[in-house]
Structure formats: structure tokens, C-alpha cells
């Protein structure tokens, strides 16, 4: 599919409009017609830019949102080289999800598109990159002698990822951010030894 500048702009408008919609409103039943209305486009355009329809569009939105998740944690996530940096990262994660509240765009997408290979791939990629940064941070702290060498960096990084995911899920269900905080704080405590 060849795209002109105008075409690329429209395609992007659809993705970002859909993402904005998911971030603001109840995402339980997102329909193509909702997105069409919000982005000021037509059915023809949606299927022109996303020939495979709903799934292709939603996966594009999911990838867009997945990038945002990591971007929102930068520059902290990329430089976990001191306890202060870890605290700043912690705060940025809490702040991000507190602002997001109960609406989780990625979660909404995933429950819509189900567990297709494409969806799993988006989530896996995000979690892998996320965990990679945390693991790097732990390893650097160990090299600097700030974290004991007996800590299994990969395992604890996995625990961070799981704790964050679970904390966000609890936030979505109960509206309380306490679990996310507890998870991050406990694991950082664990690193401090």
C-alpha cells in the first residue's frame, strides 16, 4: 500500500485518536464506529489504512500505547544507577498510573483483541524491553557495589515486572494504587538489603 503524505497523516490521526479515546473513556466496548466518529473519518478510510480491519487497527494502537508506556518512564528507566534514580523512577511509575486511574488503554485493547498471536507479541515485546531496563539497572548497581552480588538480577527484574503488572491490575479493579506502591517499595527495599 502506497501512502502519500496526506495518507500517512490520516492513518496517524486514526491511531492517535483511538488511543486518546481509550485513555479517556470507558473502554469496555470500543467499536470501529466510535473510532470513526472520534477521528472524523469514514468506514472507507479505516479499511483503506487497515485492510485487516479491527485487529490490525487495534494492534497498531496497542503498539503506539506500548511505546508510550516506556517513554513515560524515561529518562529514569534508562539510568537506574543510584538509589535516587530508583526513587525517581518509582515516583514516575506511580505518577503515571495514578494519572491514568482505572482506564488502562493497553488492558482495554488486550481484552478486546483477545489472545491472538499479534496481541501476545505486542505485550511480550513491551514486557521484555521493560524488564531489560530494570535488569540493566540492577546489574549496574551491583557493579557499583550498591547492591549485593548474590541478588539474581534477572529474577528480581522479573519480579518487578510482575509486581507492576499486578499493581496496575489491582488499580483497575479497585481504584487503589496501594498495591503498586507496595510492590515497588518492597522490591526496592529488597535490593537495598
Amino acid at each position: 500500500m502506497r501512502l502519500t503524505a496526506k495518507g500517512r497523516a490520516t492513518r496517524q490521526r486514526i491511531i492517535e485518536g483511538a488511543a486518546a479515546y481509550l485513555r479517556s473513556d470507558d473502554p469496555a466496548g470500543v467499536t470501529l464506529d466510535d473510532i470513526r466518529a472520534i477521528t472524523g473519518t469514514s468506514k472507507g478510510q479505516i479499511f483503506h489504512y487497515f485492510p485487516d480491519g479491527k485487529e490490525e487497527l487495534f494492534l497498531a494502537v496497542a503498539r503506539f500505547e506500548a511505546d508510550r508506556v516506556l517513554d513515560d518512564q524515561q529518562p529514569h528507566l534508562g539510568a537506574l544507577t543510584s538509589w535516587a534514580a530508583w526513587e525517581r523512577w518509582r515516583d514516575s511509575v506511580i505518577a503515571r498510573y495514578r494519572a491514568q486511574g482505572r482506564n488502562c488503554p493497553l488492558g482495554a485493547l488486550m481484552s478486546q483483541v483477545g489472545s491472538t498471536p499479534g496481541a501476545n507479541e505486542v505485550v511480550s515485546t513491551l514486557l521484555n524491553r521493560w524488564q531489560f531496563h530494570v535488569r540493566e539497572g540492577i546489574a549496574e548497581m551491583q557493579e557499583a557495589g550498591l547492591v549485593r552480588a548474590s541478588v539474581d538480577a534477572d529474577r528480581v527484574a522479573a519480579a518487578f515486572i510482575a509486581g507492576i503488572q499486578g499493581g496496575v491490575q489491582v488499580l483497575r479493579s479497585t481504584g487503589s494504587i496501594a498495591h503498586l506502591e507496595a510492590s515497588l517499595d518492597t522490591l526496592i527495599d529488597h535490593l537495598r538489603g
Copy 2:
């Protein structure tokens, strides 16, 4: 609504049949007609026993499954009074979710019924009871002098809940149970100090 013995049996058959279906098959798009077919009932019966339709039925199934989640961890979860007991509990959780694999009945229900008050209440109740047992376990370990008193039992219990939830979610997305294991092991390590 008055129920005879036969009626109660049918109602239960619907709930348990639906639960079994969610446990085995891809639960992305569960429809009332699926449940009707599997349980060998008719539309009339479903709406007879669950007048509010889909949501009422699905919440009943969710409550049923939520009870199972805790039951499957007993008797270990109720008596976390030694390190051996904690390990047994850990193993039972891992075993349960390894057996369950990618199909998470409760998760499927929740993504179907959305974030209605009823659904949130079911999840909140489950998580609260779960966390209560873990907190009690930590407190007992502290009283026995096996865990240092400086540990905030409630906070670490919350971290356990978040870690488990996140681990299960990663399992659903990637099929790997590593995150669940990492989370439990890291937090138990943390308790060991």
C-alpha cells in the same frame, strides 16, 4: 424467586458448566448460546434462573471461580506458620497456575463483564481475603521470631498479591510461568531477610 430442588440443581449445573467451559476453552468470546449448548439448557432456563441475564450469570460464575482460587491454595494458605509451609504454599500456587495455563477463567469473565460495580466487588473481595491470609502468615512468622519485626506485614502482603496477579497476567500473555515464580521467590527471600 422460589426454587425447588430440581431448580436449584439446574441453576448450579449452569454455573458449573459455564465455569468448566471457561477453564478449558478459549474464553475470548463467551456467548450465552455457548453456555446454553454446553449445559444442555435453553434460553428460557437461563433467563429464568438469572433474570438479569448475562451479567448476573457471569457474576455468579465469577464468584464460584473466586472461591475455587482460594480453595485450591488450602490448607497451605491458611497456615503459613513455618518456612516449609510457605514453600508448600508457593508450590501449590505455581502448580495451580501451571495447570491452568493461559486460560484464566476469572480473567476471561472480567474482560467480558467489564468494570461494572459487581465485577469490581467480586475481585476486591477475592483479593482482600487472599491478602488477609498472607498478612496473617507474615504476622505469625514475626511473632515466632522467624521474620524481623521491621517488615510491614500489610505492605509485603500487598506486594505478594500484586506479584501473583502480575505473574498470572504474564502467564496469560506469554505462556511463561517464570514471572510468577520469580515474584513469589523474591518476596519469600525478602521475608527471609
